[in-house]
């Protein structure tokens, strides 16, 4: 378990795609009240496709790593984003995150989905 955390920690602390996007098309914030995770996602959308994405994630390792992994995975046509639930994020991360951490895992996904729903 600790090894998995060590692997996730590098992803959670990665600085690429971090911070607000000045010319974003849309943004949304999701909060996991149970442990204080907060994730904001900014999207630049061109012709129905995500051309760029940045995020700001505060909270536990799981939620921050989830945000980074999602940001890497969503560039391209919105209709082809295959992320629908926690299990799809587990596949991205490649680790067996406990169901007890489901909200940590899915808070960034909720931010992404909320942003897309605003388009």
């Amino acid at each position: 378990m600790l090894l998995e955390y060590e692997n996730l920690l590098a992803l959670a602390n990665r600085q690429s795609r971090r911070g607000p996007m000045v010319d974003s098309s849309v943004s949304a914030t999701a909060v996991n009240a149970s442990c204080g995770d907060e994730c904001t996602v900014w999207l630049k959308v061109v012709d129905g496709a995500i051309a760029d994405v940045t995020f700001d994630a505060k909270g536990c390792v799981i939620s921050r790593a989830s945000a980074a992994a999602i940001a890497d995975a969503v560039i391209g046509p919105i209709g082809q984003i295959g992320l629908t639930n926690g299990n799809s994020i587990r596949s991205l991360l490649g680790v067996a995150v406990s169901p007890l951490r489901e909200r940590c895992l899915t808070t960034p996904l909720k931010a992404l989905q909320d942003a897309i729903s605003k388009l």
């Binding site: 378990m1 955390y5 149970s34 442990c35 204080g36 536990c60 799981i62 406990s98």
Partner: protein, 406 residues
Amino acid sequence: MKTFLKNSQSKSDFDLRAQFQGLRRDVAYLDNAATTQMCQSAIDAMNAYITGGRSNVGRGLYPIAEETMKKYDAARSTVANFVGVDAGRCVFTKSVTEGLNAIAFGLRERLQAGDEILVSAFEHHANLLPWRRIAKERGAIVKTMPMLADFTLNLDRAKAMMNERTKIVAVTMVSNVLGTVLPIADLADAAHRVGALIVVDAAQAAAHLPIDVVDLGVDALVFGSHKCYGPAGIAAMILSLDLIDSMEPMIVGGGMVDHVTTDGATWRQGIEKFEGGSPNVEAAIGFAAALSLIAPPPYEGGGRGEVLRQRLVSDLQSISGVTVFDPPGAIGIVSFTIDGMHPHDVADMLGARGVCVRAGNHCAAPLVEKLSTTGTLRASLAIYTDERDIEALVSNLKEIVKKAKA
């Protein structure tokens, strides 16, 4: 401070841990403020009732129903006596949360616009949200009795906040986050001086402290079974005779009505008024059996419970980056944070190593937000906690912190 944990030293002539089948030697269970393991006497009592033939209560007219009624009544007496009252003041509810909601519901019509309800800075959401809701409904105001820098109640300020507008003082007896023991008798005295009622959430206190509702002078007090080595799904709502007579029941339906006509109904007298629906008889029997394990307490001083807690505090304080919240006189609970590490991540890693602690805001967000932006880790002790549990937490934590900072 006299606690049940101290008392466990006097039980050294038998293996206390053997009374708890749910305790595993490969697990250090330190989440007892959430739920304790169930004692064998509770399991046996419920098993005997269930396998011996069970029935509903207050309905059947056959011998098994009579036996069930006797067992249910006996369980109520045991639970009531545990906190120094007779059975006529003890209502069974499904949880402490339901009991506190029922009291808030029952008192709401006493409130008028501008009246004040005082809660403490230590409240679990269960003893905060019901009061906020009825205050909003009635135009009343909820005010918070503050915490001092040492994480104890500012009693002087609390007393100064009470005045003729104060109608209800709703307060926890022991903080579920910090283990702080609140001065209930002093608060009760101050509340009554201004004509207010005092309602006490004793969920965290009942397994650790002697409680005498009459000596404390409180009007209502609620405590639950599953934090006292009994089954989940049952709690005791202790009410003054005045409140039993005057409070409206929150739950209406079968079992609590006296007379139902085509367009109206009257309620039964006494505690029956508050127990609508079929009661959880087996849980009541288990609850009573569990309390029999920890009562009556001789309350000896210098026992292992306080020693264990103090050892845990000092061992945690010795780990670089760990901040321990240690109010003077606290019992049973130790909350702490680790620099640069989210409590949920640490709890997850400890869990994978067989150490069970709680992390987060502990359903007490207003308090925890004052301590940490991300919540705290919480280790909570029980009558069966021993040195190996403490060692397991501290040694694994040291390793986790060391690796994280490597």
